[in-house]
Structures are given as C-alpha cells and as structure tokens.
C-alpha cells in the first residue's frame, strides 16, 4: 500500500467499490435516501466492470430478485434504508429459510414510519431478532467508519457463503454520507468463491433436480428445517462473535455502543479520561451473534455500564441479558435522526457514576 492507495470517499461509495472488488455478480435495488449512491455507483462503475445492476420497481421486487440470483448461484446483494428494508422482510425470511447466501445493507435512517433521512440505529431489533416472520437470524455486521463500510463487504460475502445465510451490514445515514479516507484491501474473489452444487443452474442428467424453496408443509419436516437453522445459528454464535474493546484494562466503567454511536462514545471516553474517570468502550461489531459472554465477563469487575444508542434503547436489552444484573446498566439515547454529542454521553456517564455513588452510600 502506498499513499496513493488512500482514497477519500463517502461511506456509500466505499461500500459500493468494495462490492465490485468482492466479486459481486449482481445488484438489485431501489433508490432511497440516504443510500442511493450505492445504486448510482454500481450502475456506473459496477456495470462498467461487469456487474449485473438492475434498478427494480420496488424493494419487494429487489429482494425477490436477490432470492432468484442467489438461488442461481450468484454472489448478490441489495441495499436500502429503513422503510425499504421493512418492505424486504418477507423476502429475507424466505431467503433465510431457503438458506441462500446474500448481502443486504441497511443504511439506517430515523423512524418509525417515513421518519427522517437522518442517521439512526432504530432498526437494531429488526436486524438482530429476525425482522420478518418465523425463527431465523441474519448475521449482522455493524461498521463504524468508512473503512469498515468497505472492509465488512468482503467479510459479509464470505460469511454468507460459509453459512449459506443472509448477512446484513447495518450502517446508518451518517456512515453512508460522511467522507473519510479508505484503503481497499487486496482481495481476489476467485480465492473466496465456494462451489454451490445446490444452485438452480439447469439440471444435467447426472444429478437430481435442485429445488430452492422455503415450503415444507409437513410440520415434522418444517421442524427439522428449523432445527437445522438453529444449529447453524449456534455454530455462528460460537465462531463469529466480533467486538472491539478500547481502554478496557483498567476501566471501572464501560460504555457499550456500536456503529456511529461507538465513534461518539470513543470521543466521550477520551473526554471522561481527561477528567480522571476510568472508562472504556466496548463496541460490538457483530450484532448477531452478540458478544454476550464478553460483556458478562467484563461486567464482573465493573462499577457500571452505560449503553449509548441512536434509538430509544434496543441493544441495551441485549447488554442487560449479557450482564444478568452483575453491574448497573444505564442507557443514553437520542431518537428520530438526532446524533448525540460526546458531551451528552459524558454527562450521561456522570449520571451513572453519581447514581452508583448514591447507591454505595446507601449500602454503607
């Protein structure tokens, strides 16, 4: 890598560039702010470099095109933002059930409803708990920089192929729109492509026909499929948990935050440390699988945990599940597209510490 390899790009563009470099064969999508640059970039650069890029008539059509292309063995993706991702939920459920690998990017904007086009983390539950009907999970990666918007694309496609499971990159409007430096890593798609003998490519005489379906009308058979899925999710949970811990060694308090909120919390940690507060940051990178065990272990030696999100408090439920009462957990969030400032986070941390101090005083 040389300096000339460093580019200044929007998150959406960096992600789109990585999509091409990851060897994606096809993209199906529908314009929606704040992620339309992905479709635009691929319609130009992607097509130029051999990708099939189709602007669908709706998000519903787009996700079902992803189903078709994935079923035909292609490395494929769609991207959208919150309301569009809601429209895709039925299709995602089918894709998860039929065990098709694909990438879905949600550049999260404020909701509910038509909401706002400003950044939000309001889709955490939808992304991590299934989102559509039935018992299924997506693997969810949460980038926190333009660099990670690019890097996670390769990981997402590889994980999707490895587990035959849809993978979501859950970003937000700021990560999509902001410009930062980015370097594209060396990645040779041919070295990562896996055989897909299950794909519907036309049935030669030498094999049985391949069927892509999510319909298993006998409940016993459908339960077997569910058991298979649950075993897969267990395996994913064992193997794929990713997180980043910042200044956690001597920390008495930890902030837990992901994505853009983690960037803000990182700054808050610096400010609080300057004030002599021993605080660290835990940033879950995979939101499913969630780093429950890491948080649980950490909590044993902490005086308290502050969860910061750009929503009304969603991931905080998973943090509490991980901590199981070992240490107090408080929450600070802004909603509807408002981004919290580092100072607000420091104040919230102060509140947690004072509350903790009060509780200690009462105890003695």
């Amino acid at each position: 890598m040389t300096v000339s390899d460093i580019k200044l790009m929007k998150g959406n563009e960096a992600l789109a560039e990585a999509v091409i470099r990851a060897g994606a064969q096809a993209y199906f999508g529908y314009p929606i702010t704040p992620q339309s640059e992905i479709l635009e970039y691929l319609a130009d650069e992607g097509r130029e470099r051999g990708m099939i890029v189709l602007q669908a008539e709706s998000e519903v059509a787009a996700i079902n095109m992803v189903y078709g292309a994935a079923g035909a063995g292609a490395r494929v993706l769609t991207t959208s933002s919150s309301p569009g991702i809601s429209l895709m939920q039925e299709g995602l459920s089918y894709i998860a059930s039929a065990q098709l690998p694909c990438l879905v990017v949600n550049v999260n904007r404020g909701g509910p409803g038509l909401g706002t086009i400003q950044p939000s983390q309001g889709d955490y539950f939808q992304a991590t708990k299934g989102g559509g009907h039935g018992d299924y999970r997506l693997i969810v990666l949460a980038p926190a920089s333009v660099q990670e918007m690019a890097d996670f694309v390769y990981d997402a496609f590889d994980l999707a192929d490895k587990y035959r499971n849809p993978v979501m990159i859950l970003a937000d409007g700021a990560l999509g729109q902001m410009m930062e430096k980015v370097q594209f890593k060396d990645y040779t798609p041919a070295e990562h492509m896996v055989p897909k003998p299950w794909a519907t490519t036309g049935k030669p005489k030498t094999r049985e026909r391949n069927i892509i379906t999510s319909l298993f009308i006998q409940p016993e058979k459908m339960e077997q499929i569910n058991i298979q899925l649950q075993e897969k999710y267990k395996l994913i949970t064992q193997n794929e948990v990713r997180y980043e811990a910042v200044q956690s060694e001597d920390a008495e308090y930890m902030i837990v935050a992901y994505g853009l909120a983690a960037r803000i919390a990182h700054r808050a940690v610096e400010l609080a440390r300057a004030d002599g507060i021993n605080v660290g940051l835990l940033r879950p990178i995979t939101l499913f699988p969630f780093p429950y065990a890491v948080i649980r272990k950490m909590a044993e030696r902490l005086n308290g945990v502050l969860v910061v999100e750009m929503n009304a408090g969603q991931m905080v439920e998973d943090v509490r599940l991980g901590i199981e009462g070992r240490t107090p957990v408080s929450f600070y969030g802004r909603m509807g597209g408002v981004i919290p400032s580092p100072e607000e986070v420091v104040n919230a941390l102060g509140g947690l510490i004072r509350k903790e101090a009060v509780q200690h005083a009462e105890a003695y």
């Binding site: 096809a26 099939i52 709706s58 059509a61 079902n64 079923g71 035909a72």
Partner: protein
C-alpha cells in the same frame, strides 16, 4: 364379460401413442379432478422434452394451487414468494442468460399481489416466458374472489356475486401486458378441449423459440377452470368456461413479433 389384459401383452401388441414425458416426475398430482393445472404442466414439459432443453430450463413456481409445481416438473426450480415469480425469474435469467427460464403463476399471484412485478418484468422485456393460469378464483385458499373473477360470479368472498360497486371489474391483465413494448408474444389459450391443448402446445413452442431468439417477454395466459371452487363437475366447469370466460377472455394471439 370381464376382459383380462396384462401389461406386457399390451406393449407387445400395441403401439405406444401416449406416455408420460421424461420431464415429468412420477409423483402423483395433488390437483383436484378436472383441474387444468395438470394438463398445463404436462404440455409444458412435453415441449421442454421435445425441444431437448430439460438441462437448460429453470422454472419458477408461485404461491397458490401450483405452489408444488416443482414436485412434478423434473427440472431445476425455485419456489417464489406470493406474486414475485417474475422478479425471481428476471434474476435467474440475468444470471444465466443462456438458460430457458419460465415463471408459472395463477391469477391471484400474477394479477393481484404481483401486478407490479408482472407489469415491470414485461415492460423491461425480460427474456423469459410467463405462464399465467386464469381460473377466476383463488383455489388454494378456498375459493375467494380473484382479480379476474367475472361480474356476478359467486365466490366465498362475493357470496352474492361480484359486483362493480364493491369489487370493481375483472382485470384483463394479458391485454395490459400486450400493450407494453417489452412483450414479444402474448397469447391467450385454454386446455378445456384436446384441440385447445394442441394450440397451447404450439404457443409454448413458439414462446421458447422466441426466448431463444431473445425477442423479449413471452406471456401465455391459459383460461382454465376450478371445478372445486366453481362447485361444478369437471365437464360442467369446461362448458361454463367456454360460455362465460371466453366472452371476456377470448382465446387467440394478442401480440406476436412481426
């Protein structure tokens, strides 16, 4: 008097003039007696066999009575979400442009919940075949009104007959599709008589040939029956079809390449 004939003697003495095409599996059809689906499946797969394209054909099944089409058609298939078969077919064809791709959908799937996909697939001129079974009723869910249900026709959700004030008009989706520049070939057929079956077979051959020539979207409507949903015997249903469906949905080629 009871005549006893055993299998081997028949084959020795008689010429085989009619048999199951190799492109159909030997699974027993789940369709009701007299239903047109089985006939359409068979004709479609006869064509696939006769054109020698079994290894290159990929089918997309819908949600509805023919949701299990992939049990019977011995080719690679995908089962699409309700209404989305043509979107799925679009993607399969884009990924595998040298394969023959068809979607197979009923009236609720193609002309109600999937109308947007139907129109836009055809309007993009996707180089696929869309097979559309129109029996003017939702069979799978128990006989509810379809977008193509005739005025006055009784269904479980129009118990006194479909009326315009509450349910609007029957949708002639093939006519709409034929107006779109993306469609190359639009034909309306039926399978209620042996001759109609032969005509449908020719239309299917034509459609696959056009697909081979990359002419654009081919769309074949099959005006069919639903003896169970219509509460008729199969013969009554076929008579009723001719008398009542054909005036609104007349058979014939709506559009063909010049």
């Amino acid at each position: 008097m009871q005549l006893e004939i055993t299998g081997p003697e028949i084959t020795e003495q008689m010429e085989c003039v009619y048999e199951r095409p190799d492109t159909l599996t030997d699974m027993r059809l789940h369709y009701c007696p007299g239903c047109g689906h089985g006939v359409v499946h068979r004709v479609l797969m006869e064509v696939v066999q006769e054109l020698g394209i079994q290894e290159k054909t990929i089918g997309i099944a819908p949600v509805g009575c023919s949701v299990f089409a992939y049990h019977y058609l011995d080719i690679d298939m995908q089962e699409a979400a309700h209404g989305r078969a043509s979107a799925v077919a679009t993607a399969v064809k884009r990924i595998l442009p040298d394969r023959f791709v068809f979607s197979y959908q009923g009236d609720g799937d193609l002309a109600a919940i999937g109308t947007a996909e139907t129109i836009h697939t055809a309007n993009r001129g996707e180089n696929i075949l869309m097979v559309f079974i129109n029996n003017a009723i939702y069979g799978m869910t128990g006989g509810q009104m379809a977008p193509t249900t005739l005025l006055g026709m009784k269904t479980s959700t129009t118990p006194t007959g479909r009326n315009v004030e509450t349910a609007g008009f029957p949708l002639k989706i093939s006519d709409i599709v034929a107006m779109l520049p993306g469609t190359a070939y639009v034909s309306r057929n039926s399978v209620h008589t042996p001759n109609a079956v032969r005509v449908l077979k020719k239309a299917l051959v034509q459609a696959f040939q056009y697909q081979n020539e990359k002419k654009g979207t081919c769309f074949i409507e099959v005006v069919s029956n639903c003896p169970s949903g219509w509460k008729m015997t199969p013969i009554e249903a076929n008579h009723w079809l001719e008398k009542n469906m054909f005036p609104l949905y007349p058979p014939g080629v709506l559009k063909a390449p010049k």
